[in-house]
Symmetry: C2
Subunit: 246 residues, 2 copies
């Protein structure tokens, strides 16, 4: 036995270590980390120590492993979402001020909407969809808005593989939603995430006519005023797109 009995490179292992943290978990014991990453304890230990010397991980006393502050800093300084967030924030704040609703910004990654930024409704305490959270395309208005503006090929590929584990939604239904969203210029979805809420999202299109994000709000059913919301969102989305350039 020698270099990597399992046939994986060092890079593979570094990635597995970082990916080993389950969602929302910030701290892991060394043994558990090694287990989750599928690495021999001594190898995991060596890797973690090396990474923590550079500040990407934080190896505390007693084998407690956390992601490093330096990693957080580097990623949040240089992430490609940075320009998007900077362009979008003023408009998101406007929406929040004027409509007083939860505002969110998402991008498409695979067949899921990845939420990049969120402003919560004034006065509200709890907060469902989190920053860096994901939602399948077919159960989020943001996801539908994004997918409805993808090329025919991408949409076909998406519908091809579509399968709803709960069995509540058919590919046919999703196709219908997407067509509707494409035609109307916005996507809406009622009571899916939470029975008493309504989601509305519009695409954000950059200078090259590429759909790069979706801007959306989540409103209580009782306060649903489509006529007021959609134009506000579309105006903001155009403003963001203009800022983006590209």
């Amino acid at each position: 036995m020698a270099n990597s009995a399992s046939g994986d490179s060092v890079v593979d292992r570094v990635v597995r270590v970082i990916e080993a943290f389950p969602e929302g978990v910030t701290s892991l014991q060394l043994t558990e980390l090694a287990d989750r990453a599928g690495l021999p304890l001594s190898s995991a230990h060596r890797l973690v120590r090396q990474l923590s010397q550079h500040g990407l991980l934080d190896l505390g006393a007693g084998g407690t492993v956390r992601l490093g502050l330096r990693l957080w800093e580097l990623v949040n300084r240089n992430s490609p979402t940075l320009a998007l967030r900077q362009a979008a924030m003023p408009f998101m704040e406007d929406i929040q001020q004027v409509l007083n609703q939860n505002v969110n910004l998402a991008v498409l990654d695979g067949w899921e909407a990845l939420f990049v930024e969120r402003l919560s409704r004034r006065g509200s305490v709890a907060n469902r969809a989190r920053i860096a959270g994901r939602m399948p395309v077919h159960i989020s208005s943001a996801g539908l808005a994004l997918m409805s503006h993808q090329s025919r090929e991408v949409q076909a590929e998406y519908l091809e593989q579509f399968e709803d584990p709960s069995g509540k939604v058919t590919a046919q239904a999703v196709r219908h939603f997407l067509a509707e969203a494409a035609q109307q210029g916005y996507a809406q979805l009622a009571g899916v995430v939470d029975p008493d809420t309504w989601g509305i999202a519009v695409p954000v299109v950059n200078g090259k006519r590429r759909t790069v994000a979706a801007l959306g709000v989540v409103v209580p059913l009782a306060e649903m005023r489509l006529q007021a919301l959609v134009p506000a969102l579309q105006t903001a989305a155009r403003g963001i797109g203009r800022q983006l350039g590209d």
Copy 2:
């Protein structure tokens, strides 16, 4: 010549690649990246390709390298600042609502304050750009608030190495500021970052009496009302500390 002519490990190199992005730069050409990371082009190319296969980097056509969406997601989901931000956000929103000022949250890293979250003043153009930004301890109220609550040893070590490149501030002056902040329970600093603004920050103390963050506001000189601001900040800071537990 063989494994690493320069005597650095693979982990070292991965770190250098991620660190190669200058602040605010989200996209780098492969050649420039190799240059900045101090790696032979072919090695950089191999590493980047491997990392991008896992989604930590994004190697686009023409050798354009960006940080990967997956990396952003993983870090923002599992970062140790997550609990802090979640605990602090409601209180920061309260402050923003009541005082209508720029609110920020920082932690101490080395001899600098690292800004973890920021809410901008209503109506102002969002300067959210400064999330993940750093400020030296001696020119930020947050930094002073954090340092004033560190142990004697840490403070001594800090003052020992202190040197102001601009020569405007002496170690003696900083010592004075820290003592004052420790005694008063808050730190203030006028017109340093911006000649017309005043910074005030208070420490956030967790259940174990450890100072884990600083909560601060930046107000225009004209609107300076210390009597109103400090109690509000201190109340919020206590609330955050209670949420944190630990």
